[in-house]
């Protein structure tokens, strides 16, 4: 059994070693600077968490298969092939202690994208059967039920009903030819229903033509997290089919970091063709509406507010200034933590770590980095972010550390300040 799975794993690694990975391994100067960029290293001090070390199995496969000296050493028996035990040993390093936050590529002197390489290494690990049980379960649910959190269309329908009652607005579903199609992360469907209501109210005020799609609501891509390109492509394809069937111009990525990365950047490569629509992050859309004067707010909060930049938005997505411009519309006491924007530290639970119960204790431990960032500004009353996964991970840690502030999503923060006349719009009216 393990012979075939090991062969599958090594084969997948060979397949994943593209010219970028090869040149990254080649150009690594072993400076070790990536260690200090990684919160798993800084918070534990354990050198095994040095990012490049997490790539050791893949590096050995590269050396043995793609380099002159590696091939020669293999030929005369000086190097041993990778074993199943070694892959097993590396599994926690590859899945539990890397959130694919991509902070390490920012510091390396030769620009090696270690996060990109880890996601490729995961392809080999999962093909060899070495992925965490929690992440496997989430991926199975994503493929079979349609959501890693187990939320079905029925769950969404119930949420739509509640939201329509709360807001008095009709949530448009399967509207052919709408401009925007919204998708949601499973986390929003299950834990943060306020997101949907906030969208409805903001879009009503701004006059945005939008819709949900009953075939494609789930934005989270567990395939990307576990590292299987096949499953990742299948999940992206569902959204692409839904959006192209409805003929929308844009798909709105929700407040979720990896969902954004998956649908916007990885998606076309995974399915092998360009989309017939564009992908826009909800923060980009809100900021665009603000700029066009279609998003109006009233009232300022004087609480001390800060913003947690989700890794995939700043380091992979360039959504940097939008949240700050939006927050300054409604908060008079906005403060940036040290290392804001592209240098922000991860919440500790991205890249599938939060779906992996085995990593819970480590994830809580490394939150001390975020705590230090918050301590440096003397604490805040309110933390806003635009990733429901960051949010749930931080809410968890706030309990564990006995911290005293509340966490909110961006859309609901803005929606809370919509002028009152649009808050109580008459029910039954379609917003499209």
């Amino acid at each position: 059994m393990s012979d075939t799975t090991l062969k599958n794993g090594v084969n997948a690694l060979v397949e994943q070693i593209d010219s970028r990975v090869a040149s990254f391994f080649n150009s690594c100067v072993h400076c070790g600077m990536c260690a200090d960029a990684c919160l798993f290293y800084t918070e534990t001090g354990d050198p095994k968490y040095t990012p490049i070390h997490k790539l050791e199995p893949m590096r050995r496969v590269w050396k043995r298969n793609f380099t002159f000296w590696g091939k020669l050493a293999a030929m005369v028996g000086l190097s041993k092939p990778i074993t199943d035990e070694e892959l097993k040993e590396w599994e926690p390093l590859v899945y539990d202690s890397c959130t694919l936050c991509a902070r390490c590529p920012m510091v390396g002197p030769v620009g090696n994208d270690i996060a990109y390489m880890i996601s490729k290494e995961r392809a080999g690990m999962v093909a060899a059967g070495h992925a965490p049980p929690g992440l496997k379960g989430a991926t199975v649910r994503a493929v079979e039920i349609g959501s890693p959190m187990g939320a079905t269309w029925k769950t969404v329908q119930a949420q739509i009903r509640h939201t329509e009652e709360d807001t008095g607005l009709k949530i448009p579903v399967d509207q052919q030819g709408a401009d925007y199609m919204a998708i949601m992360s499973g986390m929003e469907t299950v834990n943060f229903p306020e997101y949907l209501g906030s969208l409805a109210r903001i879009f009503k005020q701004a006059g945005v033509s939008w819709t949900l799609c009953s075939d494609a609501v789930e934005a989270t891509n567990s395939g990307i997290q576990i590292g299987s390109p096949d499953i990742a492509a299948e999940l992206v394809q569902r959204i692409v089919d839904g959006a192209e069937k409805l003929g929308v111009k844009y798909v709105i990525s929700p407040e979720c970091g990896h969902a954004y990365m998956a649908i916007r950047w990885s998606g076309p490569n995974l399915i092998g063709r360009p989309y017939k629509f564009k992908v826009i992050h909800i923060l980009e859309l809100l900021d665009q509406l603000r700029e066009e004067g279609r998003l109006r707010t009233e009232g300022m909060e004087d609480e001390r507010v800060t913003f947690h930049d989700p890794c995939q938005l700043v380091r992979r997505g360039g959504v940097l200034e939008q949240p700050r411009r939006l927050l300054k519309m409604v908060a008079s006491n906005y403060v940036d933590m040290p290392d804001p924007g592209v240098w922000n530290w991860c919440c500790g639970g991205g890249g599938g770590v939060s779906a992996n119960e085995r990593a819970d204790a480590l994830r809580i431990k490394v939150f001390s980095r975020k705590k230090a960032q918050l301590d440096a500004v003397g604490g805040v009353d309110k933390l806003v972010t635009s990733c429901s996964n960051c949010r749930i991970v931080m809410e968890d840690a706030v309990d564990a550390y006995n911290l005293n502030f509340k966490i909110f999503g961006m859309a609901e923060t803005i929606a809370a300040h919509l002028p009152s006349d649009t808050k109580t719009a008459e029910s039954g009216e379609s917003s499209s």
């Binding site: 084969n11 793609f66 059967g129 992925a131 199975v140 096949d230």
Partner: protein
């Protein structure tokens, strides 16, 4: 011999207020890359420090280094400290000449034996028994060895004293060598540059007075605080380099727009010095800011680097037939390796194993059991 007054006394006599003095200490502390908490310590040490005895020997040099130090924009800490040390021998500056001058040197050496600082400016000729540069009838080699024997430390000022400089350049007719080739048993601080930045030498002196030891040095014996980073890394034109915007000649649009001077031979990437941050003439400018490439004057062998206006990426020696053949062989080898790699990947693609939910479920259970 002068009485042992402290530096604090000297400054007060010269009408320097304590506020000004503390300000100067802060500047020096930050120039030395020390934490701000060190400012009071630097101030205390400088104020209490007896004026150190300094013997300044000039060998094969052009006096440019001394000009740089003494004619730096005034009144600055460089000037103050430099005027406030007990400069007991400097053959260019001192009024005494002949045997009187040599007697001053001998007296200072006797009085402060083991404690005085020796500053050396210029390289030392060794060929033909050192006859190419002599003073008071003695060769530079002899004078250096004698004075260095009683010194606490030697500061080699300028590239000639540090690395040999221009006299050392090919074909080196006088057999010139840097101080470090002759003196092996004393700490040597190389303050290289042609000439060096004035604040660097005063920084070294201030550090020595404050901590009683020489500052951290880089692998070439230069104070790491000043020579730790390359000109290129701190250059304000660096963004143009990163964008690939280069001036191709001194009068093209690129030059007028202030683009990177790399292709005009700038040695900034391989030169370690503080010019790009400290600048010259009181922070007015530095060569690159004036539109000229860095010559690399603070690096060893800068004169033999194959032309100031030749880009670093060009070779200094003619590329022969062998190099061409090696390049062709290398390219062919690389292409063969690349093709082999591609074949391997293609084979792996053919054997691609699709990970399914079924499989994950099965193994998920295994993993949990």
């Amino acid at each position: 011999m002068k009485k042992q007054t402290t530096l604090g006394d000297q400054l007060r006599q010269r009408g320097i207020s304590r506020r000004t003095f503390l300000k100067l200490c802060a500047i020096t502390t930050s120039a030395m890359a020390l934490p701000p908490t060190m400012i009071p310590r630097v101030a205390r040490a400088l104020e209490k420090a007896p004026r150190p005895s300094v013997i300044y020997l000039s060998f094969q040099e052009c006096t440019g280094c001394l000009e740089s130090l003494t004619r730096s924009h005034a009144p600055t800490l460089e000037n103050l400290i430099f005027n406030s040390i007990s400069l007991d021998y400097q053959d260019t500056l001192q009024a005494a000449s002949g045997t009187a001058a040599e007697a001053a040197r001998e007296t200072a050496m006797k009085q402060f034996y083991g404690k005085y600082l020796l500053i050396v400016d210029g390289s030392i000729p060794t060929k033909d028994n050192g006859v190419y540069s002599t003073s008071a009838g003695r060769t530079n080699v002899d004078t250096l060895k004698e004075v260095a024997a009683g010194a606490a430390a030697v500061v080699a000022v300028g590239t000639c004293a540090s690395f040999g400089g221009i006299p050392y350049a090919n074909p080196n007719p006088t057999g010139a060598v840097p101080v470090s080739d002759l003196i092996k048993d004393k700490p040597i601080i190389n303050v290289s540059g042609c000439p060096p930045i004035p604040v660097v030498i005063t920084g070294v002196l201030a550090h020595y007075l404050t901590f009683g030891e020489i500052p951290a040095l880089d692998r070439l014996g230069r104070p790491a605080a000043f020579y730790g980073e390359s000109i290129h890394d701190r250059c304000y034109r660096r963004p143009f380099y990163d964008q690939g915007k280069f001036a191709k000649s001194f009068d093209d649009d690129g030059a007028r727009n202030g683009w990177c001077l790399f292709e005009l031979g700038c040695k900034g990437p391989t030169t370690h010095n503080a010019c790009a941050t400290t600048k010259w003439n009181g922070g007015v400018s530095f060569p690159i800011e004036s539109g000229h490439p860095c010559l690399g004057c603070s690096e060893p062998n800068f004169w033999d680097g194959g032309g100031f206006y030749r880009a670093l990426s060009q070779t200094t020696a003619p590329v022969g037939m062998w190099a061409g053949a090696a390049a062709v062989a290398g390219a062919a080898g690389g292409a063969a390796m690349g093709a082999a790699g591609r074949r391997k990947r293609a084979a792996a693609k053919r054997e691609h194993h699709v990970v399914t939910a079924e499989e994950l479920k099965k193994k998920g259970k295994e993993g949990q059991s």
